[in-house]
């Protein structure tokens, strides 16, 4: 143990914290959060801007105005779905990196329904699109889950690779057979009819998918804690070998959790299409699948942490544009902050000392 480490271990403050583990835990996280903020301050200073102004702009344009808050909540919805698309398979030890592709497939199947059954009324068409989006995303992830359960291919590689397949498949369709002849230069489908568009709450831009997303998070937390299947999922997460001995059908859960995760990402794709964009094009998702992945790991796949984390990352994403417009900072600067946050959370969580042996 180095002298520095010794000083950290043997000091009165540490002993006091030792008797109050919860306070210590909170203090530790606070200290790390401070590190993240400081790193950001330094970054802004390097650009020769005032950090105080930057923070004020973020506050003024996201949380303190109705429009800003709406923007944050709208961005938060796909993040919640995509985080759950990672968190649910993670509970049975599966790493789903394929949220991005599953969004695109969900958008693809949903737009197919919207453009095929033009005459259907809203009350029928919208649920059908939702189900189609879930079926598409679920099947897409299910392929990876099935390959894994058979022992043929790691889901990490298959999901990553299938992202490219999904996005390119969408491109192929919108450049080819599904291209809207009236928007000559843009590779995109025709606009979906008004009956295929999700209504917003009152005069806001928020739609019902946000409610569904929050319900999914809360529902999953309850499911894990209280149901028989939740118990079996937690058993697989704790020790898959022992779970199998106990008669749990591990491979069914592997496929099932991948399908459910993919279905949620697919629903995010349907939401983007039906509530915001109205057309399918290769810009359906600006990386929600990847941010959702980051988010789920930040939250330790814990549903209770996913909501606040999603809110925080949505604020960050929203502030990127604001900083670019008002401060002349590159909008990518928020990606740097996201990355710093990720590092800080991983560092704060790292408690296992590397053995000195």
């Amino acid at each position: 143990m180095s002298a520095v480490a010794a000083a950290i271990v043997h000091n009165p403050a540490a002993e006091w914290f030792g008797r109050h583990p919860r306070v210590r835990e909170a203090a530790r996280w606070l200290a790390w959060a401070l590190v993240a903020v400081l790193a950001y301050v330094v970054l802004i200073l390097i650009y020769g801007k005032s950090p105080l102004h930057a923070f004020h702009e973020i506050w003024a344009n996201t949380l303190s105005t109705k429009y800003g808050l709406e923007d944050v909540l709208v961005r938060m919805t796909p993040l919640l779905f995509c985080a759950m698309a990672v968190a649910i398979p993670a509970r049975v030890g599966q790493v789903n990196v394929g949220g991005e592709g599953q969004i695109f497939i969900g958008g693809l199947t949903a737009v197919w329904v919207a453009l095929t059954f033009l005459s259907w009324p809203s009350w029928l068409l919208l649920p059908a699109m939702g189900l189609a989006g879930m079926a598409g995303g679920g099947a897409w992830a299910g392929i990876a889950g099935w390959l894994k359960a058979r022992g043929w291919m790691s889901e990490v590689f298959s999901t990553v690779l299938m992202n490219y397949v999904a996005i390119l498949a969408v491109s192929a369709l919108v450049f080819g057979p599904w291209r809207d002849p009236t928007s000559s230069n843009y590779p995109q489908t025709r606009e979906i009819s008004p009956s295929a568009r999700l209504p917003h709450f009152g005069a806001t831009r928020i739609d019902v998918t946000l409610v569904i997303a929050v319900a999914v998070v809360v529902g999953f937390a309850w499911f894990l804690r209280s149901t028989r299947w939740g118990l079996e999922i937690r058993a697989i997460g704790g020790n898959p070998y022992a779970a199998e001995r106990n008669g749990v059908h591990v491979s069914r859960y592997v496929i099932g959790c991948m399908v459910v995760g993919g279905a949620l990402a697919g629903l995010a794709g349907m939401g983007q299409l039906s509530a915001l964009q109205f057309r399918l094009n290769p810009g359906l998702s600006p990386g929600f699948g990847y941010v959702g992945f980051l988010l789920s790991w930040l939250a330790g796949h814990n549903p209770r942490l996913i909501v606040p984390m999603a809110f925080l990352l949505a604020v960050l994403a929203s502030s990127g544009d604001i900083l670019q417009i008002s401060q002349g900072l590159p909008s990518a600067i928020v990606n740097v902050l996201s990355a710093i946050l990720m590092l800080v959370v991983l560092l704060a969580r790292a408690r296992t000392k590397v053995s000195t042996a």
């Binding site: 143990m1 209280s226 149901t227 028989r228 704790g238 022992a242 001995r245 008669g247 059908h249 000195t356």
Partner: protein, 520 residues
């Protein structure tokens, strides 16, 4: 320190007298883990000869030597090496001081060769490796102490006994003057133990002080010069082996004499009833050794022991019965029905229980509470609202009545399984399985690594199950256990059942002959 290691270079082979005649005194060692005092003011002295450190699981033996080795930081106490106070802050320091520890679970790197693994440990490792020179040093030491091993093989391809030899070689070549072995025989098949003891004797004759951590009395009497007994973290006493009896040691270890198990009269009706389990010419190809043409029947109340050198298909036999591996040809008949294609869940639900070698590794989920583990054992039984809720009150009642029936101490149901000691986890897992009132119980090395009281408790539970009419398939390494508990005894070799013996008339020698194929 490294100069001594350099002096051990092969140049001085001819008259190399062992450098070792070190002595180590540990005084007033205290090690706490939170509120738990793992080692409580222990005194321990090491000079030439073999010192046994004896105690049941969790008595603090491993923690004490890990503290001496610098793997754990001392809370109190001092260490004197060759008359000098030393502070062993880390294993690296311990190695530089000449203290070597061979861990219970090995620390070799499977992807590297034997030579490379040893080289990693050498204190005088040059920047450019002289591979052949290191290899010849290994071979020379290996020959001297009877530690034969192929220096060019990858460690991952070696058997456990071979890996252990590499561990010992590595410690010797790193210049250790004091050798500590943490339960060295726990991973060894019976016939390898004698070879290891030979190595220990040669090392002792060369003047190395040796510490042997064990909970097996036979090993103490076979090898030790002095024995130190620990109980609940404290040293009870240190005595020369010549002045102590087995009973006295047992009393020091446990404070009282544990009861021995007795097989009650064997159920005579067993043979006439329809068998609960029948394997007919069953062939299984799973992850381990393939099983070929197995035939086996178990009648109600019958305990059938399975003997064999570890790795000859016993584990796979258990997997074949519990449904973890598939029957490729032939059939598995359970309770009169053809169960060849049944899943693990279906087999469990039909009334088959399983007791593993390590409850925490194979059966319990360490980060779930005990009551959750109970519910997991029979999730359908405790389901309410079609599975959307679980009947925790039912779990609790079931559990309390079963533990009372088995006369076991009742642990807190909200405790996490991972906080149980090995012996208690094993008892809990067995009680959980018995609570399901199985008609067939598959026990795979159920007393492996347990101390004497836990072993006796587990054996008695198995006997009780048999007395209730449950058939028990008992796979064990311990021949005494097999002959004491079984009604019939089968021997496995190369994935086949090669013979069936009568446990009342056979003896260890005969069983060993069948196990090793020495009967030709």
């Amino acid at each position: 320190m490294s100069t001594e290691a350099v002096a051990e270079r092969p140049s001085s082979t001819a008259e190399r007298t062992p450098t070792a005649s070190a002595s180590l005194i540990a005084r007033g060692i205290v090690k706490r883990f939170g509120p738990v005092v793992a080692v409580d003011h222990a005194d321990f002295e090491i000079g030439p000869g073999v010192h046994a450190l004896l105690g049941e699981n969790g008595a603090g033996k491993s923690t004490l030597v890990k503290a001496i080795y610098g793997y754990e930081q001392l809370d109190e106490g001092e260490i004197v090496l060759d008359g000098r106070h030393v502070e062993v802050k880390s294993p690296a320091v311990a190695r530089r001081l000449g203290i070597g520890l061979v861990f219970q679970t090995f620390t070799l790197i499977p992807a590297l060769t034997v030579t490379e693994n040893v080289a990693l440990f050498l204190p005088d490792l040059p920047r450019v490796l002289h591979h052949d020179e290191i290899a010849s040093r290994i071979r020379e030491t290996a020959q001297r102490y009877g530690l034969a091993v192929d220096t060019e093989r990858r460690v991952g391809t070696l058997s456990l006994p071979e890996q252990q030899r590499v561990e010992i070689l590595r410690v010797l070549l790193s210049g250790a003057k004091i050798l500590i072995f943490d339960e060295p025989t726990s991973t060894l098949p019976a016939q390898e133990v004698d070879a290891l003891f030979d190595v220990f004797r040669r090392l002792r004759d060369d003047g190395y002080p040796i510490v042997l951590i064990t909970h097996k009395l036979a090993e103490v009497f076979a090898l030790a010069d002095t024995v130190t007994v620990m109980r609940r973290g404290a040293v009870v006493d240190t005595v020369p082996i010549s002045s102590v009896t087995e009973d006295a040691l047992v009393e020091m270890m446990f404070g009282e004499k544990p009861p021995a198990v007795q097989r009650a009269a064997i159920a005579e009706h067993a043979a006439t009833e329809e068998p609960l389990l029948e394997l007919r010419n069953a062939t299984c190809v799973g992850q381990g050794r393939p099983l070929v043409g197995l035939g086996l029947t178990l009648a109600p109340g019958e305990i059938v022991g399975v003997a064999g050198v570890s790795g000859n298909g016993q584990r796979e036999l258990a997997d074949a019965v519990t449904g973890l591996s598939r029957i490729k040809s032939g059939s598995r008949i359970l309770f009169g029905e053809d169960a060849s294609t049944w899943s693990v869940r279906r087999i469990r639900d039909a009334g088959v229980g399983f007791v593993p070698e390590s409850a925490l590794g194979q059966e319990l989920i360490w980060n779930m509470t005990l009551e959750e583990n109970v519910a997991l054992g029979s999730p359908r039984q405790f389901s309410r609202l079609h599975g959307f809720a679980l009947d925790w009150r039912g779990v609790r009642t079931d559990w309390e009545s079963e533990f009372a029936k088995l006369d076991l101490h009742l642990p807190d149901p909200k405790r996490r399984a991972g906080t149980l000691s090995g012996g208690n986890a094993q008892r809990f897992a067995l009680a959980r399985e018995l609570a399901r009132e199985p008609r067939l119980l598959v026990a795979l090395y159920p007393t492996h690594g347990l101390d004497v009281p836990s072993t006796v408790a587990v054996q008695q539970l198995l006997l009780q199950a048999g007395a209730r009419g449950c058939a028990v398939l008992l796979v064990s390494q311990d021949l005494a256990e097999l002959t004491a508990l079984s009604d019939r005894l089968v021997v496995m070799r190369d994935g086949r059942i090669v013979s069936e013996l009568d446990p009342r008339t056979t003896n260890a020698y005969e069983i060993g002959r069948h196990m090793t194929g020495g009967d030709a």
